[in-house]
Amino acid sequence: MLSVEQVSRTFNHKQAGLIDVSFSVEEGEIIGILGTSGCGKSTLLRVLSGLDKEYTGKFSLEKEDVGMMFQEPRLMPWLTVEQNVAFGLKGDQKAIVHELLDTVGLSGFEKHYPKDLSGGMSQRTAIARALVTEPEVLLLDEPFSAVDAFTKMQLQELLLSIWKKKNTTMLLVTHDIDEALYLCDRILILKGQPGVLAEVLTIKQSKPRDRTDPDLASIKAEILHVLDLRETAS
């Protein structure tokens, strides 16, 4: 459904960005993208979303209906929470908006402006905005980085339930290895500056998974090894 062939996008005379990334994604797969800060994860999503056209190599995406959640909330400051969530919707679909706001724990804040939200609340608003249009492909850039551990687990369940319902294809950038292990069918590990694709790990366990599964723990050890970290450093 998505095939990426030797895509490169570099900045600063090839000192930063990403180089020669190739992979392919099947419909309904959840792909995790891990890597240290600055290795080009956001850049990769920007290329795939069509926002950045200055890349070399080629990729083909068979779906048109692509949703994206940026690393920052990017809410419209002049719109209330509910208007922000409804931003990409066509027509008046208040019921769906309110249901989703309830799911991400923001009911009661519908009429607030972004300036009155905490970081985590802004991020949840942005999640709701990305999910409400139910796109066929979702590009998620560290979607849960600003929320607490418990809310994070709930939001991960939300992603899984959407995936189950719509068989959504997802590319999920994350710094949380456990999150990637819990949600993803495959994990791409980027490394270096500029980033290259260092490793692709497949996780066969069916979803929903047990977060304490010892098999997952062994994959985690492998990931840490690829990232050159000792296990204790997690």
Partner: protein, 279 residues
Amino acid sequence: MLEQSNRALKLVQLNKVKTASKKPRSNRRLLLGSILPVSLVILWEAASNMGIIEAHLLPAPSAIIASLYQMVLEGTLWGHLGSTLTRVFAGFFIGTFAAIIIGSLVGYLKIIEELVDPIIQALRSIPSLAWVPLFILWMGIGETSKVTLISVGVFFPVYLNMVAGIRGVDRKLIEVGKIYGFTSFQIVRRIILPASLPSFLTGIRSGLGLGWMFVVAAEIMGASKGLGYLLIVGQNTYSPDTIIGSILLFAILGKLTDWFLKVIEERSLRWQDSLANQH
């Protein structure tokens, strides 16, 4: 002209900071702020009555009010007020409208900017009052030349702020629209215009201020009605009460119309994370 519009801009910013005060404190402010002017007026009145100030140079406040009241009784004041207000509003709307259209195009389309902006910048550096003889030559001394002059005065601050506002729109927000497949028109309407609203409102407030300045110029140049005309009448008939009365009316009208825009500004910018919106 540039200096003036800068000053108007600064004034707007000052006003914004002022509104940061809370309600209970605003009564106190009003009280404190009126002590000085009220005592000055009382002093002035007393000094005039005692003959310390010569009435043919500076008449007593009561004499000024009386002469204004006389014009109300004669029914002439409304005519003067009406024609000045009509000129300001007509010039304000025409100038603002032109600035919105041209400013949006220049701000949004690079090619139009390269085409149009240099000439506008060049025109801007002409002190606007220098246009007066030309406008009178072209359009005669009637309403058209006056309204045109006021429109020119209003145009530049609105245009500059409009362009700056559009330029300053966060690219990251525009990308959100692109992700949703918005057309250029949708991006302008749903992202660029609302995002540049604060700057635009600053622009129309300084534009209105300049509109009031230019109406005085236009009416002094030659008119048979209007507050500026009253100024000239006062000068020619040696009646300082008429002059000061008109100045007073200019001040009141200018303040009222600016207050009106300020209320609109506050209403529509409640979302802004600014000093003025702290509570």
